[in-house]
């Protein structure tokens, strides 16, 4: 966080000096550096400037109801998308059903089955506005049956097993209607869910259905001045009309392959994101603490420019998140219809997408559901009622390959892959840093230094430099010793000679 501020300061200082010139001659016209219309895919460089990038994902297909083989199209409130193997399920909220599809080959999907209810000895066996559908590793099915105020657990054959209802907790309003919206279930059958109006964090149930507490509550964010005003200065009548300081609710959850939960929030304030008080995405461990690594040049919150314009306002509103097995994760922004891909260190790999009616773009202001099949991405757009399938291009594949090779310890191969990425996109900071890191691991420090310096990676540069300096000193120890010796000893000798000379010159015996 400090780093960004420092960087902004560098940029702002230059701007300040620039304004000094305007002061010196205001008639001087400054050409405004108009930012070129951004392409589909982009990334940020060290300075936060937008760098266009080759497309990392291409659209395989956009599937409408007819393409999917559906008689009744998906409703415009459909909100859940879950991939299980080659199948994927859409939680069709408005039509109270869950639809199963199969991806036959790269381009074709086929309708498999539609579920409007389940078998079992329970009063209501149909769904009422279901919002999320999950299958855990054991094959059990979990459905957030929102307007039936429950989460149901079914066995793999869609037989009723149990349900999770409103938590019995004193801190919850007795009047509150329990409406679970999103959930994840781990292999042990524990359920984590979020519900409308509950902002204490993620609701955690044990496998036996008992409520075991809230995890990962977001800290309440407020400004000091607001607090002072509310606490000491305002009248009771004013206070009643004020917004209360409450934690923000999560908008979606995703259980990754390590069993950690990615939780994203969409209703955050710009200034809180910028100051670091609020986080758009968290990765929660079992204790509910955030373990998301944020080593990137910019925090993980999507677009770093939050200006208003073109019909968009404010920051990215992250509505869904999905994580690959190599800890690369993709965020989905409903404000600008973009997908942001981050690596495990929280560095933006690339962002792509936009609003519109073109393939690969999304319609406005509706949540987009996102999941992945291998490295392919599947996105559900509930306004256009379509499914978009993305697959990595050669460029995208090379990036993933480079990351995977580095994680597997194949540093030399990883360096080559990054080099290939660099050949495709010379403006890509991570490619240079990737090559540098591979060289660093191969103990080729001098070459690594060069790559890190080009892209301002001071952390890795320092690591490489420390080693390089050590090697250099070891190689040149003799020279260093001689130089130090010379600096210390030569003036001493000169002084001594001068002294002897002076003594000889002033010695009595030479005086006649």
């Amino acid at each position: 966080m400090k780093k960004i501020q420092a960087k902004k300061l560098v940029k702002r200082l230059s701007a300040l000096v620039a304004s000094a010139v305007i002061l010196a001659g205001s008639s001087l016209a400054f050409p405004l550096t108009a930012q070129a219309e951004s392409k589909y895919t982009y990334c940020y460089d060290y300075w936060g400037d937008v760098q266009d990038s080759p497309d990392a994902y291409e659209v395989v297909g956009v599937y409408t109801a007819a393409d999917m083989g559906l008689e009744k199209p998906i409703s415009n409130t459909a909100s859940g998308l879950t991939v299980v193997g080659n199948y994927f399920y859409i939680c069709d909220t408005g039509n109270n059903r869950i639809v199963q599809f199969e991806r036959i080959d790269r381009e074709h999907i086929a309708f498999v089955k539609e579920y409007t209810g389940f078998k079992g000895n329970v009063e209501v066996t149909t769904f009422n506005k279901p919002n999320d559908f999950q299958i855990n590793e054991e094959g059990y099915i979990f459905i957030a049956d929102t307007d039936n105020n429950r989460v149901v657990k079914l066995d793999p054959d869609w037989n009723y097993m149990m349900e999770f209802t409103k938590p019995t907790d004193n801190s919850l309003d007795a009047e509150l209607v329990f409406q679970p919206t999103k959930l994840v279930a781990d292999s042990a059958g524990r359920v984590y869910c979020i519900a409308t109006g509950i902002n204490k964090g993620v609701i955690k149930y044990e496998a036996d259905g008992s409520f075991s507490g809230f995890v990962g509550a977001t800290p309440v964010v407020y400004k000091l001045w607001d607090y002072i005003w509310k606490r000491f200065l305002s009248t009771a009548a004013q206070r009643e009309k004020m917004v209360s300081f409450v934690p923000t609710e999560y908008s979606n959850l995703y259980l990754d392959h390590d069993g950690f939960i990615y939780a994203c929030s969409s209703g955050l304030a710009e200034e809180d994101l910028k100051s670091g008080a609020a986080k758009a995405v968290r990765r929660l461990n079992l204790m509910g603490s955030d373990i998301l690594i944020q080593n990137g040049e910019f925090p993980v919150y999507g677009d770093i420019y939050m200006g208003n314009g073109g019909g968009y306002t404010g920051c990215s509103k992250i509505v869904d998140v999905t994580a690959f097995d190599n800890d690369v994760y993709v965020l989905c922004d409903k404000e600008r219809g973009r997908l942001f891909t981050y690596d495990s260190q929280g560095r933006l790999l690339f962002a792509f997408g936009g609003k519109g009616n073109i393939d690969g773009y999304f319609m406005k202001d509706q949540p987009i559901a996102l999941d992945h099949m291998g490295y392919d991405l599947i996105a559900l757009d509930s306004v256009s009622r379509t499914i978009t399938m993305f697959t990595p291009t050669e460029y995208g594949k090379l990036i993933y390959q480079a990351i995977d090779q580095f994680d597997a310890g194949q540093y030399e191969d990883s360096g080559k892959s990054w080099q290939a990425v660099m050949d495709l996109n010379g403006n890509y900071d991570l490619a240079y840093i990737g090559v540098g890191r591979a060289l660093l691991r191969q103990e080729r420090y001098k070459e690594a230094l060069n790559y890190f310096e080009l892209k301002y990676d001071d952390d890795n540069y320092s690591k490489a430099f420390k080693q390089y300096r050590k090697e250099w000193v070891e190689e040149h120890i003799l020279v260093i010793f001689i130089v130090v010796f010379a600096i210390l000893i030569i003036p001493m000798i000169i002084g001594r000679i001068g002294k002897i000379k002076y003594e000889i010159d002033t010695a009595d015996i030479f005086k006649f």
Binding site: A18, A20, V21, A24, W47, Y456, R469
Partner: protein
């Protein structure tokens, strides 16, 4: 031709330049002698100013990016020079304009010489720091930052001392007039701003007047 007069002049210049090092360690004595014993010269003052500007510019190119990343797209070398010369100019004028009304003994030129002499610690510390910056890692950066801050504080404190000596002010009066000089600088900036915006408006008026006339005639 190295005439003896030239050699004499150079020796005087060199002596006055070396005196800046004395000032850097003896602010009270040094700056008193600077004007009262006439040991400072414009030539030496200009040299120090030049070194200061040089240090500031060389810092951009040669300091390690670990310490000081540079956003090259926005760098304008003339603005960098102006960022030292412009504040210096309005400080000298502002300080002199004010102190001359309140028993300040220093003349305009003396304020300039003294201020330039005060800037010596900046190149003195910054040049070695440029070399040092290329030998440190991120963890050892604090050392660099501290020294860099020292060079700035040194200069600023020395300017205050110097003004007290050349104007023959007591300590309290000196502080008072340092602050007053800063306000004088603000006033100058304000008037310059006003002046330039008025001028550009005026010029724009005549340009549009001329254009209009040309349209009528054609």
């Amino acid at each position: 031709m190295l005439t003896s007069a030239r050699i004499e002049a150079f020796k005087r210049y060199w002596k006055s330049f070396k005196f800046a090092f004395y000032c850097a360690t003896h602010p009270i004595d040094g700056f008193w002698d600077l004007t009262h014993e006439k040991r400072g010269t414009y030539a030496a003052a200009n040299t120090i100013l030049f070194l200061t500007i040089l240090a500031r510019i060389m810092k951009l190119q040669f300091t390690s990016f670990v310490v000081d990343p540079v956003y090259w797209e926005d760098i304008n070398i003339f603005l960098y020079i102006a960022s030292i010369v412009f504040p210096l100019a309005i400080w000298v004028v502002g300080n002199w304009a004010l102190t001359t009304l309140f028993d300040g003994k220093g003349r305009l030129g003396q304020v300039y010489i003294a201020t330039c002499y005060c800037m010596l610690p900046y190149p003195l510390i910054q040049f070695p720091l440029i070399i040092l910056s290329n030998m440190v890692t991120k963890d050892e950066m604090q050392f660099h930052t501290t020294l860099s801050a020292v060079s700035l504080i040194w200069v600023l404190v020395w300017i205050v001392f110097a003004m007290g000596q050349i104007h023959e002010y007591s300590f309290g009066k000196n502080i008072l007039f340092t602050i007053a000089s800063l306000f004088a600088m603000l006033v100058i900036v304000f008037i310059l701003l006003l002046f330039f915006s008025m001028i550009s408006q005026g010029v724009a008026y005549f340009i549009s007047f001329g254009k209009e006339a040309l349209f009528r005639m054609s």
